[in-house]
């Protein structure tokens, strides 16, 4: 019987596993790929670790820090492992895995899901037209270019101005495509200014704001796309269609948490984040099942995700010890005015200490005021220099502020 099984060997899973193993628990880490590090192994640009280490590392370098920690802490790691099913028993979980060595049953007192997210595809955003070769998600292209040294095409178009799209644009430009174009529906790049400047503007890569791909053209291979301008609600403006010749389409149009597996276990899913609802220790609505990283919500910085894995590790520790008294009724945290989503969705414990609340703003605003309120009364206010929907915001609150309340709402004004 393991004390905890961590599913997923990306940064969040690695951090949770190493932290728990340091506390002398017996931990097993399961990873479906043949190496640890998750997506970071294909993110070869630097910029990771600035919050945690005050140093800018590349993806593989950042991953390596935690791979070493996992090694040092004595976590049992199983690579190439597919988790076929997980069953909840009275006081533990039964995990059925499939590997090249066989089919294995693992028992664990608790579970940490760190299985991340997947990329939204062309069908989910209803891009019309044909279904030829040459349409890829940005993550696939990043992997293709950085791990295999292959380009998706000679004249790609990138759809979406978020960070992944921006980073991929720079790689493609530097690594030898003939021409490149980026379109996105926002008024300006939704990725970090740093990436907009250093990936697109530095190299004068052409881009079109308020534009999206309406149709893909080409029977066997992408030959062109039909672009269309969109309004501020991203609705296509009829009559603005134009054909743009290209040989590949790269989609950077959002990430979706892999929440199906935890949902099957009975965890409540928050439609706003797409991930499981969690409490302040990242425990889902199923006792003993924790979830961390991009499965909970899409983090902008891996540093933040990893920090939250540390918090989750504390929660697992409490759970395993039977410590940490839970409230009879959790405090519900709800997104209010101009807030799209909020994590955690509930505060379940009585303990002392501060709580980190993440929220995604519903609008772009300078000098915004963020209120935490309950039953019409403002409990605490924060000033934020600059907020926008594509950037996740963080608040730190002492428990005392919201203790005893039934429901707490976060507003932005």
């Amino acid at each position: 019987m393991k004390d905890a099984v961590v599913i997923g060997g990306g940064p969040s899973g690695l951090a949770a596993a190493s932290e728990l193993a340091k506390k002398q628990y017996e931990i097993k880490l399961l990873e479906r790929n043949d190496e640890l590090g998750g997506l970071l192994q294909q993110c070869i640009h630097e910029g990771f670790g600035t919050i945690l280490f005050d140093e800018s590392l590349s993806g593989p370098e950042f991953a390596d820090v935690f791979i070493e920690k996992v090694d040092d802490a004595g976590v049992e790691v199983e690579l190439n492992t597919y988790v076929k099913s997980v069953e909840k028993k009275d006081d533990h979980f039964e995990i059925l895995t499939v590997t090249g060595e066989g089919v294995q049953n693992i028992s664990a007192r608790s579970l940490v899901y760190a299985i991340g997210c997947r990329e939204r595809n062309r069908f989910e955003i209803k891009i019309g037209g044909t279904r030829p070769a040459g349409v890829y998600t940005a993550g696939t292209v990043q992997r293709l270019v950085n791990l295999y040294g292959i380009l998706p095409g000679k004249d790609p178009i990138i759809v979406g101005g978020g960070d992944v799209g921006l980073i991929v644009a720079r790689h493609l430009h530097l690594e030898g495509v003939d021409s490149l174009m980026m379109v996105y529906p926002e008024e300006f790049f939704s990725g970090l200014p740093r990436n907009a400047q250093q990936c697109i503007l530095d190299f004068d890569i052409p881009y079109k704001p308020r534009t999206t791909v309406k149709r893909i053209i080409g029977e066997k291979k992408v030959e062109a796309v039909e672009l269309v301008e969109v309004d501020e609600n991203w609705a296509p403006i009829e009559g603005t269609e134009e054909t743009y010749g290209c040989d590949s389409v790269i989609l950077s149009v959002g990430l979706i948490p892999y929440s199906e597996k935890v949902e099957e276990l009975g965890a409540v899913i928050d439609p706003r984040t797409g991930g499981p609802e969690v409490n302040e220790f990242f425990e889902t609505s199923v006792d003993g099942v924790f979830s961390v990283g991009n499965l909970v919500q899409i983090f902008d910085y891996v540093d933040d995700a990893v920090k939250m894995s540390f918090v989750a590790a504390e929660g697992v520790d409490d759970y395993l010890k039977g410590a940490g008294r839970k409230r009879d009724e959790p405090v519900r945290l709800k997104p209010g005015k101009n807030v799209r989503s909020i994590v955690p969705q509930r505060i379940a414990h009585e303990s002392e200490g501060k709580i980190k609340i993440f929220f995604r703003p519903g609008l772009e605003k300078e000098n915004a005021k963020v209120d935490i309120r309950s039953e019409g009364r403002v409990l605490k206010s924060f000033k934020k220099r600059y907020i926008r929907p594509s950037t996740l915001e963080e608040l730190e609150v002492s428990r005392g502020v919201i203790g005893g309340k039934k429901e707490v709402v976060v507003d932005v004004r």
Binding site: I44, E175, A196, Q197, Y386
Partner: protein, 122 residues
Amino acid sequence: MSDDVKEVLCVRCPKGCRLKLLLGEEVAVKGHECRLGEEYGKKEATDPERVVPSTVKIMDARWPRLPVRSERAVPLVKVEEVIEELRGLEVEAPVKKGDVIVENVAETSVDMIAERDMEREA
């Protein structure tokens, strides 16, 4: 003269102010809204630098490519030259994180280093 004006995005906070840099003996920054922006603008005007990430071909390893980067930032104008110098380069596994792959790349006095270990595989 328009040649003496450069536009950049400030990268110091999510707001991303659009800075106008008036180049000359004394650099003037416009469009910034805080001290950080001015500082950043001055640096960008006189001496913009970037860390360069790329990959090189690696033999006998799990992956066909090894990720590499410049150990420190190099002048922005040198970025494409750095990449050019990597063309056709081949290394052999095993490689350790931090190994120098190219010394003094494009005469920037910065080395290109391996971003990760790569074991030798048959």
